[in-house]
Symmetry: C2
């Protein structure tokens, strides 16, 4: 009798992670995991609460719970330059936003913190932030700028310029500021689970690596398929998927550490331990 | 702009439907549906409530809600003879159970009704039924027979005989009684959804057909994979998967109609309309 259960693995149900889902499906990896598809915030909470064994987690939430978690090497959601889908929309130049009001149209923890740190530190601005529904025209009636993430941000990229608005890509901004890639989310395994079931975690990690290489070689097919259901055409989706950086190598880890340092200086997260982040050892 | 959303499709998260999940994955069909994996009872309720567009549904529940639903042709979960996993466990011969107590160790609506009709009508027995935890030794301390379904039933097939118990396969019993296959669950689409989105339903139906032929040709691989996680070895699982009949052709429809007739005579479901069941027209 076999009492080993499938690992409980989370998956972000948004468009940016569709290529990874495609890879998990086409490589056959799905059959060996108990997959929960949910929003990033739901997955963050479930992983921290121990209701999932392995899941993507917002970089900021990982930094807050690093003692319980190990990172899976090689896989992340980030960008090395423009990300297209994490944007500030504004009418005046960013430099002229001193004292202005900034609407935050997302609950994405890392994207919002990146926007706040850029405005405060790179541009030296004091601004007031408030939560808002992610609707660009409405945000711009009540604010001087709006932070949008995901589908709304991707759409704003194409539509806001027609309304005289500027769209500033926060992936590009980070790249110019730090010289490094931005990492928005990482994949983490609960430390305890990794200690008890290293073979299972290795299996899931291998499956992610296989899934990633498979989906990267089929991005146009993923885009064609997604265009049937999403409010974007296949070319837009392919451009979006190609802007994303799903890898977590040395440069991405340097970017992660740079973000962690700034976030800790801002008092938003505990400092990363020396030598961190701690990776699952394959 | 495209406002068509992916169809909301249910999937039974139990072992008997693993081959279909395998097929949906390996054929790539998963990317075009919003899949909810849940127990049969949860899926029954969600489909009837309109929270899913297409889902497997227990035959009994389909018969109770046939006016809102159309069946997808070609796909079902049943057996044409032994099913291995829907069983009555008993010590005395079935014929000697008159006046006895029968523990129902499952919430499966069709399997339980089949057991009740067989005992009452095929064997002419008056027995008392009561709900119980699906634990064979405990059931047999409180009852003269126990109805078990799923993993518990499959395990009982191998273990109960060692304890001097007889395991009677209800798929075989139905076959002998009616001369026809038994259909435990069907796939149904909500009538309204099929009228509004016939092309999408056709797409899902095509995907199921592709998935079924793919998984039937790879049943040994499905069994090998499942044996890593389930309390059965690959040979047992392969035998189980081969006992199942995932098709819904003319013979299966005749079996369905025969069951519906008996269930209506027993007052458990409304009669199937003449010419029923109504199929989604491809």
């Amino acid at each position: 009798m076999n009492d080993v259960r499938r690992p409980r693995v989370g998956h972000i149900e948004f468009l940016n992670c569709l290529p990874i889902y495609w890879g998990l499906m086409r490589s056959g990896a799905l059959i060996d995991v108990e997959l929960t598809r949910a929003t990033p915030v739901e997955l963050n909470d479930a992983l921290v609460a121990g209701e999932l064994d392995i899941a993507p987690i917002s970089l900021v939430e990982y930094l807050r719970h690093a003692e319980d978690l190990l990172l899976l090497p090689g896989v992340a959601v980030g960008s090395d330059g423009p990300v297209l889908s994490v944007n500030i929309v504004h009418e005046r130049p960013l430099e002229a936003l001193q004292g202005g009001r900034v609407a935050l149209g997302s609950s994405s923890r890392t994207g919002v913190l990146l926007a706040q740190m850029l405005l405060a530190e790179r541009y030296g601005l004091t601004t007031e932030f408030f939560r808002a529904e992610p609707d660009v025209p409405r945000m711009m009636r009540e604010a001087d700028a709006g932070v949008v993430i995901g589908d709304v941000a991707l759409r704003a990229m194409y539509e806001a310029p027609k309304q005289g608005l500027t769209v500033t890509d926060l992936g590009s901004q980070w790249r110019q500021w730090s010289g490094l890639p931005m990492v928005f989310a990482v994949w983490a395994v609960r430390r305890e689970f990794a200690q008890q079931h290293p073979g299972i975690v290795k299996g899931v990690h291998d499956a992610f690596q296989r899934s990633l290489s498979l989906c990267l070689s089929e991005l146009d097919a993923v885009a064609e398929s997604a265009a049937r259901w999403e409010p974007f055409d296949a070319a837009t989706l392919a451009g979006y998927f190609r802007a994303l950086d799903f890898s977590l190598g040395e440069r991405q880890l340097d970017g992660l550490r740079a973000f962690a340092r700034k976030a800790a200086q801002a008092g938003e997260v505990p400092p990363l331990p020396a030598g961190g982040p701690e990776l699952f050892q394959i």
